[in-house]
Symmetry: C2
Subunit: 221 residues, 2 copies
């Protein structure tokens, strides 16, 4: 089991995340997401194609192979198990764990992550509500809806967040918007699509479209 470089792992992971849904990614998108110039991305794609991780044809969108999906899934598994471990076992806040997990996801040690999994009781989702891939890198996609797509009067449960940046999560902390929070939509402004919602002890909090778009919710069964 010869291993891939840190760099290759980052490309694979990002490719996986960006291709969620449609299954395809442009060189350009990948370039922007990674903060790496397009020519560099192109050459890395050729390398990963050589290694059978991606399907690459000039001028066509990028697609991960099955092998690539598995590899990427396993990296994401390591990332999310780490985030969960940091929050549950080391008392970090959900806004603190992303950057650390970005680094620990590259640690080469099956045992370390198996141990985390075990100590955590084999969690299915991470602290941001994202599914944790299984030992085969398989991810159980959930069908959440964006809060921004809900209608006035609906009652939903906050189940996941899209952006895991520290700033966004700190903002949610100040508004006491935690996973599991029951939210009711009171009104929506048409001109900027901001929403007024009520939840917990807060009866009329206003949140911008930028925020509501990043909040994934479930409707009560």
């Amino acid at each position: 089991m010869i291993h891939n470089s840190f760099t290759e792992e980052n490309y694979l992971k990002t490719l996986y995340i960006l291709s969620a849904g449609h299954g395809e990614v442009n060189v350009n998108e990948l370039s922007k997401e990674l903060g790496i110039k397009m020519p560099t991305v192109t050459s890395m794609m050729k390398k990963l194609a050589e290694k059978k991780f991606v399907h690459y044809e000039p001028y066509k969108p990028l697609r991960l192979t099955e092998k690539g999906k598995k590899e990427a899934g396993l990296i994401i598994r390591k990332h999310r198990l780490t985030e969960m471990f940091l929050v549950e076992k080391m008392n970090f806040g959900w806004e603190q764990v992303h950057d650390i997990a970005e680094q620990i996801e590259h640690i080469q040690s099956a045992e370390l992550f198996e141990k985390m999994d075990e100590l955590l009781g084999f969690p299915k989702i991470d602290p941001h509500g994202s599914p944790i891939p299984d030992r085969n890198g398989k991810m159980a996609w959930r069908s959440y809806e964006k809060l921004s797509e809900c209608k006035i009067g609906e009652s939903v449960k906050l189940s996941a967040v899209i952006n895991t940046s520290s700033e966004f999560l700190k903002f949610l902390n100040t508004r006491e918007l935690l996973l599991g929070t029951k939210i009711k939509i009171k009104s929506i402004e048409t001109f900027d699509r901001s929403m007024v919602i009520s939840y917990g002890k807060r009866n009329s909090e206003s949140i911008s479209h930028v925020v509501s778009e990043r909040l994934l919710v479930e409707k009560p069964a």
Copy 2:
């Protein structure tokens, strides 16, 4: 606080370990320990000298600067806190943790290691009996003696091990030689310097010189 590469950190750490005592290291020793050819080591020494981490003069032994010692001490701190955390909080055996810690020691996150330290109750030694440097990279050297240098009839306490390789530690496991074990020296063979010792329920275990040389002991106060 701009950071050093993974590679530079490994040079610094190894330099620190090898220069324990005399304070000097040869290019050749360092080269062998790192498994990196001498010319490469020379050029890295020039780079680290440029950064004021080592004193380098052609054909002279290498010495860490104070800045270099601090930097190296902090890396070793991260390594040893990690080993302790893995053993104490994640149920790893002392023979399993070295390789994982070799990787985690390079994680860039003061908080992670502060949290480990805190959760562990600010330990002073790691699972192999080595001192954990403080937040300034300062290490409290202990004056242990090698078991191989003790005399017949002496009673000592096993306080640290020199080699932290998995193989050696597994061997100690099979002999039930744990840190803290009280050992009495029953006899010493002159031709191969092997020892017969008694401890716990074992009344006459024979250990080779290669082993006794790697066991650090304390004499009862």
